[in-house]
Structures are given as C-alpha cells and as structure tokens.
C-alpha cells in the first residue's frame, strides 16, 4: 500500500455503492475536489477496507439498499460498534430510509438522486467539525 502525504489530500472517503455508474460519478467528483477515494461495491468490501490498518478513512459515504450480507444500515451499525469515531453518511431512494438513517448517523441522509456537490459540502462540514472538536 502506498503511503499518502496527508498534506496533498483533503482526506480519504470510502464510497460504498453497488451501482457502478453511480459509484464512478461520485468517486470521480470527489477525487476532482481533492479527496482520496476508496471504492467498495458492497458493505462486505467496505468492512475489509475498514479493517485494513494501512488505510485511514475519514468519512464513509454509503448507499442503503445493497445486495450482500449487509445493507447500508448494517454497515453504519458495524462502523458505530467498531469505529465509533468515524463519520457515516447514508444515501438511498426509499423514503422510509431517511428517518432510520437519521437515527443511525448524526449527519442523516442524502436522498437519491443527489447532486455531487451536496455530498461534497456534507463531507467538508463533517471533516471541519471533527477538526474543531480535536482542537477544543
């Protein structure tokens, strides 16, 4: 694994999305904005990435409805249990998901279809809030 100079990126975002075209678009946009992006096609892949000590992830941006042993809710619960300091943003198109997502992560949920810039703004706020907490 290559080591990243932290001064050259704004942080690492784990994008978890099973629809490859959607994942590609948001990942390309985030890279374009200066973030390092790790792509996972489902929650199982995301857990493998999060368990790797060589990869430091600042924010997880995950779809809710995904095939596999875990959906986005289960992934958010896994993160809460195993990586309590890590911020999670959930996205999905099912209306009932919104309130459940709000319960699971403070920053709640971004409805699909989303604008890439809305996601970037949310991520930027989360990373800024964490930096402020660290300072105080």
């Amino acid at each position: 694994m290559t080591s990243e100079d932290p001064s050259t990126t704004l942080g690492t975002i784990l994008v978890v999305e099973d629809e490859v075209i959607i994942r590609m678009v948001i990942s390309a946009y985030l890279r374009d904005c200066g973030y390092k992006v790790v792509e996972a096609a489902n929650a199982d892949e995301a857990v493998i990435v999060l368990q790797n000590p060589d990869i430091t992830v600042e924010v997880v941006f995950s779809d809710i409805e995904m095939p596999g042993s875990m959906d986005g809710f289960a992934l958010a619960r896994w993160v809460r249990a195993n990586r309590p300091g890590l911020d999670v943003i959930l996205t999905g198109s099912v209306p009932r998901a919104a309130s459940a997502a709000t319960d699971l992560c403070e920053q709640g949920h971004v409805s699909k279809p989303y604008e890439s810039q809305v996601v970037v703004d949310r991520i930027r706020r989360l990373i800024a809030a964490r930096a402020a907490r660290k300072k105080s």
Partner: protein, 148 residues
C-alpha cells in the same frame, strides 16, 4: 483545486484530440483492486474500478472512454475475466486487454489479449507494461493520449 474533467475522461486542454489515458481495473478482491488502482492513479492515469465483469460491461456500455482493460480471470458473477476479455476484444477492438490470474497456464489465451500477469504480480512491471502499451497506441494513431 478543481480540474475540468468530464465523466468520459476528456480533459479540457483546448485540444479535442487529447484524451486522458483511462484504465478499467476489474478485480473482485477489493484490496488488490485498490492497490493497483492507487499505483496507476499516482502514475497519472485515470482509473475506473469494477468489482466484476458485469460492472465492467456496464461501464463500457455507458460510453465511457476506456483505453485499457486490466482484468482478473477468476471472479464471481455471471462472467469471468476470460468471458469479459472475449466480449471486449470482439466488440471494442480499440481497447487493449490485459489479464491476470493466480492460476497460470490453465487457459489458452486469445491471440488478441495484449498481456498476462501471473499473480502475485509486481506493480512496477505492470506499470511499465501499460506505459509501453500507451506508447504503442500513440505510435499507431495521431491523436495523443495524455496522463492527467
């Protein structure tokens, strides 16, 4: 800093013939995929990641410009890397296909396949080979493919 990059990989440099060098990496093992994708991005290539042949075909069918497909052979899903390579070679002859596998010499490779890397492969070897493929592409055509 923001760069003007559109989703089809065309970089706005004031010259429509200059297209960013794009590699589609198809690998179901996320850490293996990540390591190769990182290495290629650090070298300056645009990388698109697919976790299987079905994802790779969805990318190719979306019209996204891809120059090289680097695919694992043994993958779950409706199709393995050999099946993907066969489709790419016949439907998209402009795309160079590279294969990789932990199982060596089990399959007779299509003559149109541009290379095979037994796993575990050396990253520098793959990078050098991809660089030479792009140089050959440049020599074949007048349109230049540029790294970002």
């Amino acid at each position: 800093m923001r760069r003007a990059v559109s989703i089809d990989g065309v970089v706005s440099l004031g010259d429509a013939s200059r297209v960013s060098a794009t590699i589609l990496v198809v690998e179901d093992e996320v850490l293996v995929r990540l390591m190769l994708a990182d290495g290629l991005r650090e070298t300056g290539y645009t990388v698109i990641e697919a976790a299987g042949a079905d994802e790779a075909l969805a990318i190719l069918q979306s019209g996204t410009k891809v120059h090289i497909v680097f695919t694992d052979i043994n993958m779950p899903g409706s199709m393995d890397g050999i099946g993907l390579a066969r489709i790419v070679c016949s439907k998209c002859p402009d795309i160079d296909v590279l294969l990789t596998s932990a199982h060596q010499g089990t399959t007779e490779l299509d003559a149109r396949i541009k290379g095979f890397f037994p796993k575990p492969y050396d990253m520098q070897t793959v990078l050098a080979y991809i660089k030479s493929l792009f140089e050959m592409r440049d020599a074949r055509s007048n349109s230049s493919v540029v790294k970002e």
